[in-house]
């Protein structure tokens, strides 16, 4: 094989000067620049940027020599990955069994009523993203909600309403 052909497919340069690409590159290097490092690398991108956009997917896929469609297939298979930027705040309602039978559906109703968004959506002002989790493993504290990475236990619709109101006021 001609070396010229190979060099055409040498590792591409990061999409821009953003320093966070160095973290992404470090993960890819650690995993030997191998296609099997795809998921780990996507984790790093999401941690650094908050979500996976087309540019990032293209960069990671080409760098790891993963077909574009496969990278997209993987990124959309796993619910932990998101292709859209999240809101300023996130509110994750746990839908584990214990939380479900202890009132998680009522919490979701509260979110819907107060913010007008369904799980997976972000309010139109970009303030709050609402998500559901399979189970946070905080079943002893059911129902549980994560407000911006902080787990809150035994949440009531009233308590939730107050918390959401805090976010709404600038």
């Amino acid at each position: 094989m001609a070396t010229g052909a190979l060099s055409d497919f040498a590792k591409p340069a990061p999409p821009n000067q953003d320093k966070r690409w160095r973290l992404v590159d470090a993960t890819m290097r650690r995993l030997g620049q191998h296609p099997r490092g795809l998921i780990e690398t996507l984790h790093t991108v999401q941690e650094a940027y908050g979500y996976l956009d087309e540019e990032a997917l293209r960069y990671v896929a080409t760098s790891l020599r993963v077909p574009l469609s496969r990278a997209y297939g993987v990124a959309t298979f796993y619910h932990f990955f998101t292709l859209k930027p999240a809101g300023e705040h996130t509110c994750v309602v746990c839908m584990g069994t214990a939380c479900y039978i202890k009132g998680a559906p009522q919490l979701l109703d509260t979110v819907k009523r107060d913010l007008g968004v369904k799980p997976g959506e972000t309010t139109s002002d970009g303030k709050v993203s609402v998500l559901t989790a399979r189970c946070l493993g905080s079943c002893g504290l059911a129902p549980a909600v994560v407000y911006d990475r902080e787990v809150a236990g035994k949440v009531t619709p009233h308590g939730m309403r107050e918390h959401l109101a805090q976010w709404k006021t600038p």
Binding site: E54, P67, L68, S69, R70, Y72, G73, T76, F77
Partner: protein, 240 residues
């Protein structure tokens, strides 16, 4: 090619004595002996995935049903390819496929040439007793020669496999999961804008339904050619 007799397995399919090479699957052996086993995801020349579950057969001594496309023959195996139970399951699976997307045979390019449609007839399906889903899914006609109509897709993944394994482009893959899964090209972009697609059309011809078709075909006009698949496989084997 001569093989030592010890390497030949003997088994029974539907009461018939048949012989097979050890690496062969129940489906391959059945096919050689003109015993019909329905299937939609399997296609000779592509890897097997065991996904459509139509080729499930009963094997004596196993309490589970086994997919004929991936189950290798064993000495003394007794296989039943058709029974009231199996036929019931197969009909239910086909009916589920009809409910999943919008399969309107009467206006489909593949009408009369569709594997889903003909299997349904063969298995005696005259109506679907599960409720239909009626999803909103797109038709992408951005490619200059081909069309993908997700209304007709059964997610058999033949297009994904032929593109990866035979053409080597890996333009197709599946995105999402569960009932929301969809076949996509590259980064879920219009097929016409795909960078990796070579336009070879193999995906169109392995597609069992009207999901992938050539442009300019009207109802019932899309005939699929498959002869290239065994041909390519054979020619590549000989090259080694």
């Amino acid at each position: 090619m001569n093989r030592p007799a010890a390497n030949i397995k003997t088994l029974k399919i539907d009461g018939r004595d048949v012989t097979a090479r050890p690496e062969e699957t129940i489906l391959e052996v059945a096919r050689q002996n003109n015993i019909f086993i329905p299937r939609l995801c399997e296609l000779k020349g592509l890897s097997t995935v065991g996904a459509c579950r139509l080729c499930l057969v009963e094997v004596k001594g196993s309490n589970r049903l086994l997919p004929a496309c991936v189950t290798r023959v064993e000495e003394g195996m007794e296989v039943t390819t058709s029974s009231e139970r199996l036929d019931g399951y197969r009909k239910a699976i086909l009916e589920l496929l009809f409910t999943e997307r919008n399969h309107i045979c009467s206006v489909c390019v593949s009408n009369a040439h569709c594997e889903l449609q003909s299997l349904a007839q063969k298995l005696g399906i005259t109506h679907v007793h599960f409720p239909y889903r009626y999803p909103v899914v797109a038709v992408d006609a951005s490619h200059e020669r081909f069309i993908v109509d997700h209304n007709r897709c059964i997610l058999c993944s033949r297009c994904v496999r032929v593109c990866e394994e035979i053409e080597g482009a890996h333009t197709w893959d599946i995105m999402g999961r569960g009932i929301d899964a969809l076949v996509i090209t590259d980064l879920n972009q219009p097929w016409g804008s795909s960078e990796s697609c070579t336009g070879c059309g193999k995906c169109v011809h392995v597609c069992p339904t009207g999901a992938l078709s050539e442009k300019g075909r009207s109802v019932a006009e899309m005939l699929k050619r498959r002869q290239f698949l065994p041909y390519l496989t054979l020619m590549r084997e000989d090259r080694e």
